[in-house]
């Protein structure tokens, strides 16, 4: 102690050095991002952080652990993940904590998954029901977004944003009067749940900058009655302590989480600002918020990056006039061996249910990996087993390849964007409910990921609901979010 103190009292270098025990005690109170900053202060601090392993970056959501896929008429979200991944996305046990759209995923942020009425961390098994959810009035269209940044805080929040009224053919006088109101309003009342207070609060967010127009201007350009089951949800992205929300009319909100302010961002040129386009996917990738558009009609694929330093302009990052790829034909068979695999949650849960009803001794159905291995085909490609993306197995076709390929190859042009890799400029794409590929924007190369065709999918298919509605790229977080899990018996189930 004597020695430590003498060291601490030595101010010759104008450097105040605390005993390392004390320094470590201070540092261990810091969240991961501040610890990373502390390592840059001086060698002594870096030493204190590293020697005591205070910063556990391995627990942070810094890798892709899978993709949640909501499919029409499916009870549960499917989970598509690397074979080598050890986090399951089967959230069937949370059904009783949810409301109507129980098993489908509503949102994801840094390892926390938002279900209708509950928040879950699949990597740790933790979950917490949300208190009763403030419901929108009939004519409002509601979106829920979760915000969680474990590098800064263990607290999470859920934002509910009511849009609209979007459309009502029998609009009464009250609604007509609303037509001339500006949109979005100067004070937008968002419902915010915070794990710090454990309750929902209506918080008005002050608009920075101009409004877009009037309510009448931003109505959805559809006369169809609003269909909750077939809608494509709006996506959100968390970036630099702000929540970016893709609105129903293709405008974007940048919601500042530190100040109760928000800003409207226009869609890129050429994107409709009234009709919600199905081929648009918004998300976070290497350099911030990204927007991708894939147009099935002309196979045009574009990616923009939001440039905040330049008045929130969208900068075209990538443009591919005929997005598509050549694949060995065998890849189109379902359940071909790839580095990724579908967990088949619906098949497994239905199977279990059926056997419970039949009162037959329940034996687990063959697990998805087993089934896939049985049918492993020898397509002869090398896969990246650690779940990374080398993207060197298949090249993007040029015009020549497209038409001259032999019969063992086929051309796939119905690629739909699933989402972005959050840390690399890679886009995940799917071809219908068949296969998924990763597409590197820098090299323009593709890599086959695996089959996403659910077992016994034809049963659901007969309903005509064969559409992928939403997809969420999932990053596992092994740090616990704030809050108490429910009773141990329920958690064990």
């Amino acid at each position: 102690m004597e020695e430590q103190h003498q060291q601490a009292g030595d101010d010759d270098l104008m450097t105040r050095l605390l005993p390392e025990d004390v320094l470590a005690q201070i540092l261990c109170l810091l969240p991961p991002r501040d610890l990373a900053v502390s390592r840059c202060v001086c060698a002594e601090w870096k030493g204190a952080v590293d020697r005591r392993r205070l910063l556990r970056a391995d627990l942070l959501p810094l890798s892709v652990g899978g993709i949640f896929i909501n499919i029409c008429a499916h009870c549960y979200a499917e989970f598509f993940r690397p074979r080598s991944g050890n986090v399951s996305g089967n959230l069937a046990h949370l059904l009783e904590y949810s409301r109507w759209f129980a098993g489908t995923v509503l949102g994801h942020c840094n390892g926390l998954v938002l279900l209708d009425g509950c928040v879950s961390n699949p990597a740790t098994g933790w979950f917490a029901p949300l208190p009763p959810w403030p419901m929108p009035t009939e004519l409002l269209y509601q979106e829920a977004h979760i915000v969680f940044d474990p590098a800064v805080s263990s607290h999470y929040s859920v934002f509910l944003i009511n849009y609209g009224p979007l459309y009502d053919e029998n609009a009464g006088g009250e609604l007509q009067a609303a037509e001339s109101q500006e949109w979005p309003p100067s004070h937008y009342p968002f419902h915010v749940f915070s794990s710090a207070t454990e309750r929902w609060e209506e918080r008005p967010f002050l608009r920075q900058g101009d409004a877009v127009g009037t309510l009448a201007d931003v109505r959805l350009g559809t006369k169809q009655p609003f269909d909750y089951h077939r809608r494509k949800r709006c996506f959100a992205a968390y970036w630099k302590q702000a929540l970016y929300v893709h609105c129903h009319n293709n405008f974007f909100f940048r919601i500042s989480l530190s100040r109760d302010e928000y800003r409207v961002i226009k869609p890129p040129p050429g994107i409709s600002n009234s009709v919600r386009s199905k081929g648009l996917v918004f998300g976070k990738s290497e350099k911030g918020p990204y927007l991708a558009e894939s147009r099935y009609a002309d196979r045009c694929f574009k990616v923009w990056i939001l440039d905040e330093s330049n008045h929130n302009q969208w900068v075209l990052r990538h443009c591919n006039k005929h997005l598509g790829l050549m694949l060995p034909r065998c890849y189109l068979d379902s359940e071909v061996f790839g580095p990724w695999i579908l967990e088949d949650t619906n098949y497994i849960e239905d199977w279990m249910c059926w056997y419970e009803e039949e009162e037959t001794p329940a034996t687990a159905p063959p697990s998805a990996p087993e089934r896939a291995l049985k049918q492993q085909s020898d397509c002869g490609c090398d896969f990246d087993e650690d779940g990374g993306f080398t993207l060197d197995s298949t090249n993007s076709p040029d015009d020549g390849d497209m038409y001259n390929a032999g019969s063992s190859f086929c051309y796939i042009d119905d690629l739909l964007v699933f989402g972005f890799h959050p840390f690399k400029e890679i886009v995940f794409l799917g071809s219908g409910i068949k296969i998924a590929v990763a597409h590197d924007l820098n090299s323009s190369k593709f890599q086959y990921m695996g089959s996403i065709y659910p077992t016994d999918f034809s049963i659901y298919y007969t309903y005509g609901n064969d559409e992928i509605v939403e997809t969420f790229v999932y990053t596992p977080c092994k740090l616990e979010a704030h809050g108490q899990p429910p009773t141990p018996t329920l958690a064990a189930d």
């Binding site: 450097t15 105040r16 001086c42 060698a43 942070l60």
Partner: protein
């Protein structure tokens, strides 16, 4: 109600202490004398408790050569405030739990106590608390310092804490690259 009762008890304790002259005198590095209740000193500081138990307390002022008068004044002030703020009966059990329980958020008065200190005084107090083995005071002061660091850049932290950057540009860039996810401002 509980607080009032606690104050009453604490006052009583102090009266008893005064009657028995049950205090210890501490001497700072610059020779100033401070008096603190023996009970509070023994309860809050493992080092002083050891000295009291071992009989190495000097009636004319126990030398604490490593602690300046400003820091020692704060230590004594903290001991007195601590004795006044919490029911003395509860203190004995909580002083044990401080050693085992995970960090407990500072209470309002503790927050105010450290908030009014200058940076230098705060650092002197951390060192004094560490030297005297005052776990709770160390917790509270460390918490305050960590709060001062949150959300700051390396440059800002160096400025606040008066720390010299001993990295070369290349080293710094390398360290940033190791954890690129944490740096997004420039």
């Amino acid at each position: 109600m509980e607080v009032d009762k606690g104050k009453g008890e604490a006052e009583e304790t102090r009266k008893v202490a005064e009657a028995d002259r049950d205090t210890v005198t501490l001497k700072s590095s610059d020779g100033k004398l401070f008096e603190v209740s023996k009970e509070a000193a023994a309860r809050l500081s493992t080092v002083l408790a050891g000295m009291i138990a071992g009989g190495s307390i000097d009636d004319n002022g126990t030398d604490l050569k490593q602690i300046g008068s400003e820091a020692l004044e704060n230590v004594v002030d903290y001991c007195n405030k601590h004795a006044n703020s919490i029911p003395s009966a509860a203190l004995i059990s909580s002083s044990i739990s401080f050693n085992t329980a995970p960090f407990k958020e500072p209470e309002e008065w503790e927050r105010k106590f450290v908030d009014r200190l200058s940076h230098d005084a705060l650092f002197d107090l951390v060192e004094a608390a560490n030297f005297l083995g005052m776990e709770r005071l160390l917790d509270v002061t460390c918490h305050k310092i960590s709060e001062m660091m949150k959300g700051k850049s390396p440059d800002q932290i160096r400025e606040v804490f008066n720390i010299k950057n001993d990295y070369t540009k290349e080293e710094l860039e390398e360290i940033r690259q190791e954890l690129a996810w944490a740096f997004y401002d420039d």
